[in-house]
Amino acid sequence: MNFDLTEEQTILQGGLRRFLREQATPDTLSGATAGDAGHSHTLWQGLVEMGVPMALFPESAGGLGGSGFDISVVFEELGRVGAFEPLLESGILAGGLITELGTANRQEVIDQIIAGRILVLAHAEPDSRYDLAHVQTTADRVDEGWLLTGRKSLVVAAPAADMAVVSARVSGAISDRSGIALFMVPLNNPGVELRSYRLQGGGRAAEIALEAVRVSDNERLGGGNEAFAALERVHARACAAQCAEAVGLMNGIRELTVDYLRGRRQFGKPIGSFQALQHRMADMLIEIEQARSATINLCGHLDAPSAERERQVSAAKNLIGRVARQVVEESIQMHGGIGMTMEYALGHLAKRLTMVDCRFGDADWHLERFVRLSAVAAEEFA
C-alpha cells in the first residue's frame, strides 16, 4: 500500500502544473473555444513536447506508462486550470481502442498520436443517452469493405481531429453488446458530415452524419465484430481520467473559494470568519477528499476483472457527480454574484465541473448501475 507518486509521475506533475499555470490562462481557454478547432495549438504543442500523450500509453505501445495513476496525474492537472485539450479523446479513447484492438498500422498511428495527431472516438448517438451498448449506426458488408450509415453525436474534439474511430453495428439489436465493430474513418471521407458547436465546459464537439461511408476491412479495428469489451475497458479509463479531472477542478475551485473567503470583507469582517460558511467549507473539503479517494479506487482497479472494475467505475462516477454538484453550487453561493460571472475564473471551472455529470453517465445513472453490478456479489445475503 502506497499513496506516493513515482519519481517520474512527480516530475510530470510538477512540469505540467507549472506549464498550465503559465499557459492555460482564461484568455487562452476562451480563445480556444471560440476558434474553429476548439482547442489551443499552443497548449497542445506544449503538452506534446512534455510527453504528456506518451504518458497515457503503455510501454509496450511506445508509451511511458498508461497506468491508472499516470492518467490521474495528467488529468488532475488539466482539471486544476480547466484546460480541455483533447487528451482524453485522442489519447485515452481513440488511442486506447487502437492500442487494445490493433489496426493494420497500429504502432504508426499510436506514434502519431503521441506526436500530437488528434483522433476521436465517434460512438454515442442521438438516442443512446449513457448506454454504451447502444449502436444504431450500421456497417453493411460490400465487396471487401463496409458501408457505414448513421449519426454520431456529441463527438468531443471532432472539429480538431482528422480521423475518427467509429462504432457501427454488424449484427444484433440496437442495444446488444454483441455485434459492434469499430472502424477508422478519415473525417474528410465522402459521406462524412460534421456539424461543429461549442461546449458549456469549453472546447468544441460535433454531430457527425455518416451516409454510406466506404471503409475497407483493413480499417476495422482488431479485425472483428466484438468490440464491446474493449469499448467498456477504454471507457473505464476515460471515466478515471474524467474523475481525476473533476478532482483537479474541485481543488482549483476550492483554492479560489478559500482565497475569496479570506480576502472578501463584509459587515466589517472577512466572510471566511463567519462560522456558517466555515462549516460548509469544511464539509466541502471532506467531500473533495472523498472524491479523490473514489478516483484512486477507480484508478487502482482499471486492470481488475471487468465486474469489479465496472463496479468501481460506477462508484466513482456516482460519488464524483454528487460532490461536483455540491462543490459547484456551494462555491458559487459562497462567492455570491461574482461567482456567476464568466469574467472571474470560477465561472469556467464551475461550468466544466457541472458538465462532468453529463458525460459517460450521471450520478443517478451510475447509482442504479452500481446496484445492478452489486447484485451478484450481494447474493451472499440471500
Binding site: 454515442a124 442521438p126 438516442d127 443517452r129 449513457y130 448506454d131 447502444h134 453525436s153 456529441l154 468531443v156 442495444s175 456539424r195 458547436y197 461549442r198 461546449l199 458549456q200 465546459g201 464537439a205 454531430e207 472578501r264 470583507r265 463584509q266 459587515f267 463567519f274 456558517a276 460558511l277 454538484r325 453550487e329 458559487i332 453561493q333 455570491g336 454574484g337 461567482g339 456567476m340 460571472t341 464568466m342 469574467e343 465561472g347 464551475a350 461550468k351 457541472t354 458538465m355 455529470d357 453529463c358 458525460r359 450521471d362 443517478d364 445513472w365 447509482l367 442504479e368
Partner: protein, 398 residues
C-alpha cells in the same frame, strides 16, 4: 379552516385565466414556455396590455392606478400569469420605485413619474449593489456631492439587471460620511442619458448578459431628483425591500418549471424506458413536488395574513429560502433529465428567430441555461444566508 378559495376568489381566478387566454400574445408566451430570450419590445408589449386592463401595477393602491388587489388576489394573478407563461412584470419601476415614490415622493415627483411608469415611458433599473458590497447595502460608496442645485455623482453600481434597456436608474448614493453608515445615504433618480453614465454588460455563466455594471463619472443630477430627505435614503431603501418581497416564493414559476420537467421526463427515454418511469428519477420529482405542494400552502398562509392586514414579516424569508431550494432542485433535475445533450453551448438557440435545427432535443439548451441562471435565486434579493440570519434574529430570537 378552509383551504379552498372562496366563490369570489374562484371567480376572480377564472377572470384572470380568461384574460390571459385572450390577451397574452402567443409568440410571447411561447418564448417564455420554451425558455427563449424576450426582447425589450416583448416586455413593453405585455406591460401595455396589462396597463390597458388596469392590472399592471399589482401592488399599487387604486388611487395611483393600481387594481386595488389584496394579497390573495395578487397571489392568484401572479400564479396564473406564471402558469400561462406570461413574462414577469419588470419590477424596477412598478414593484420597487413606485411604492417608494408613493410613500416618500413630493407631489411633483408623484405626478411626474408614476404615470410614466404605468405608461412605460421610462424603463427603470435599480442602482443598489456596488462592487465589494454584496448583501451589505449600508456600505454604499457611490458619492453624490451637492453643487448648487445639482448633485454630482461618481462611483459604480453593479449587478444592475437589464440596465441595457433602461433610461432611468434609482440609486442609493452617499451624501455624507458622518454618523453611522446608514445615516449618510440618499435615494436619487438618475437619467442614464446624462453625460458621464456608462453601462458595461456582465456575461454570466449561462452565457447571457442580464446584468451590468453602471459607472458614474461626475454625473450632474438636478436636486429635484432626490426622493425623501438628503441622508434619509436608508428609510426608502428599507421600505423598498419590504415591497420587493411580493411573490417571493415564486410559486407559479416553480409550478411551471415542474410541468416543464415532467414534460421532458416523458419525452426523454433511456433504452426502452421513459425517464419518468425510472423509479429513482420519479422519486426525485415526487419529492420536490411534495415540497412544492406544502410550500403552496405555506405561501397561502403568509398571503392570508398579509390580506388580513398583517405586514409580511420575516416569514417571507422562509418563503424565499424554501422557494429557492425548490426551484433550484427542479432546475437541477431538468438539467439532469436532458442527459448528455446538456453539454452543447448554443446561445443562438435562445433566439426565437434561429432557423437551424437544434443540437439534440430543443429543450436541452434552455434547461441548462436556466439551471445556471437560477443560481442567482439564492444570491440576489438578500442571499439565503442573509435570510437565515433574519429568521434567527426575528423569529427565533437567537
Amino acid at each position: 379552516m378552509d383551504i379552498n378559495y372562496s366563490a369570489g376568489q374562484m371567480a376572480f381566478r377564472d377572470e384572470v385565466k380568461s384574460f390571459l387566454a385572450e390577451n397574452l400574445p402567443e409568440p410571447i408566451s411561447r418564448k417564455v414556455a420554451t425558455g427563449k430570450r424576450l426582447t425589450k419590445q416583448d416586455h413593453e408589449q405585455w406591460h401595455a396590455i396589462l396597463f390597458r386592463r388596469g392590472w399592471l401595477a399589482v401592488n399599487w393602491p387604486r388611487d395611483f392606478g393600481g387594481p386595488g388587489w389584496n394579497a390573495i388576489e395578487r397571489n392568484i394573478f401572479e400564479e396564473e400569469a406564471a402558469l400561462a407563461h406570461a413574462p414577469r412584470i419588470i419590477p424596477f419601476g412598478l414593484a420597487m420605485l413606485g411604492p417608494v415614490l408613493q410613500r416618500f415622493g413630493t407631489p411633483q415627483q408623484k405626478d411626474h413619474w408614476l404615470p410614466r411608469i404605468l405608461r412605460g415611458d421610462d424603463w427603470w433599473c435599480q442602482g443598489y449593489s456596488e462592487p465589494g458590497a454584496g448583501s451589505d447595502l449600508a456600505s454604499v460608496t457611490t458619492s453624490a456631492v451637492r453643487v448648487g442645485d445639482h448633485y454630482v455623482v461618481s462611483g459604480q453600481k453593479t449587478w444592475t439587471t437589464l440596465a441595457q434597456h433602461a433610461n432611468m436608474i434609482f440609486c442609493l448614493v452617499r451624501t455624507s460620511r458622518e454618523g453611522k453608515p446608514q445615516q449618510g445615504i440618499s435615494f436619487l433618480l438618475i437619467d442614464m442619458k446624462s453625460p458621464g453614465v456608462t453601462v458595461r454588460p456582465i456575461v454570466l455563466i449561462d452565457g447571457e448578459a442580464e446584468v451590468n455594471e453602471v459607472f458614474f463619472d461626475n454625473v450632474r443630477i438636478p436636486v429635484e431628483n432626490l426622493v425623501g430627505e438628503e441622508n434619509g435614503g436608508w428609510t426608502c431603501a428599507k421600505y423598498l425591500l419590504t415591497h420587493e418581497r411580493t411573490n417571493i416564493a415564486g410559486l407559479g414559476l416553480a409550478r411551471a418549471a415542474l410541468q416543464n420537467l415532467k414534460r421532458i421526463a416523458y419525452a426523454e427515454t433511456s433504452g426502452e424506458t421513459r425517464l419518468i418511469d425510472n423509479p429513482l428519477f420519479a422519486s426525485r420529482i415526487a419529492s420536490v413536488e411534495i415540497d412544492l405542494m406544502a410550500m403552496a400552502t405555506t405561501n397561502l398562509r403568509v398571503v392570508a395574513q398579509a390580506a388580513a392586514g398583517q405586514a409580511p414579516g420575516p416569514e417571507s424569508s422562509m418563503l424565499k429560502i424554501k422557494g429557492t431550494v425548490i426551484r433550484q432542485e427542479i432546475d437541477k433535475l431538468t438539467r439532469q433529465a436532458v442527459g448528455p445533450y446538456a453539454a452543447p453551448f448554443l446561445p443562438e438557440f435562445l433566439e426565437e428567430s434561429e432557423q437551424a435545427d437544434p443540437i439534440g432535443p430543443p429543450h436541452a439548451m434552455p434547461a441548462v441555461q436556466k439551471y445556471f441562471n437560477n443560481r442567482k435565486l439564492s444570491i440576489y434579493g438578500g442571499s439565503s444566508e442573509i435570510q437565515r440570519q433574519i429568521i434567527a434574529k426575528a423569529i427565533l430570537e437567537l
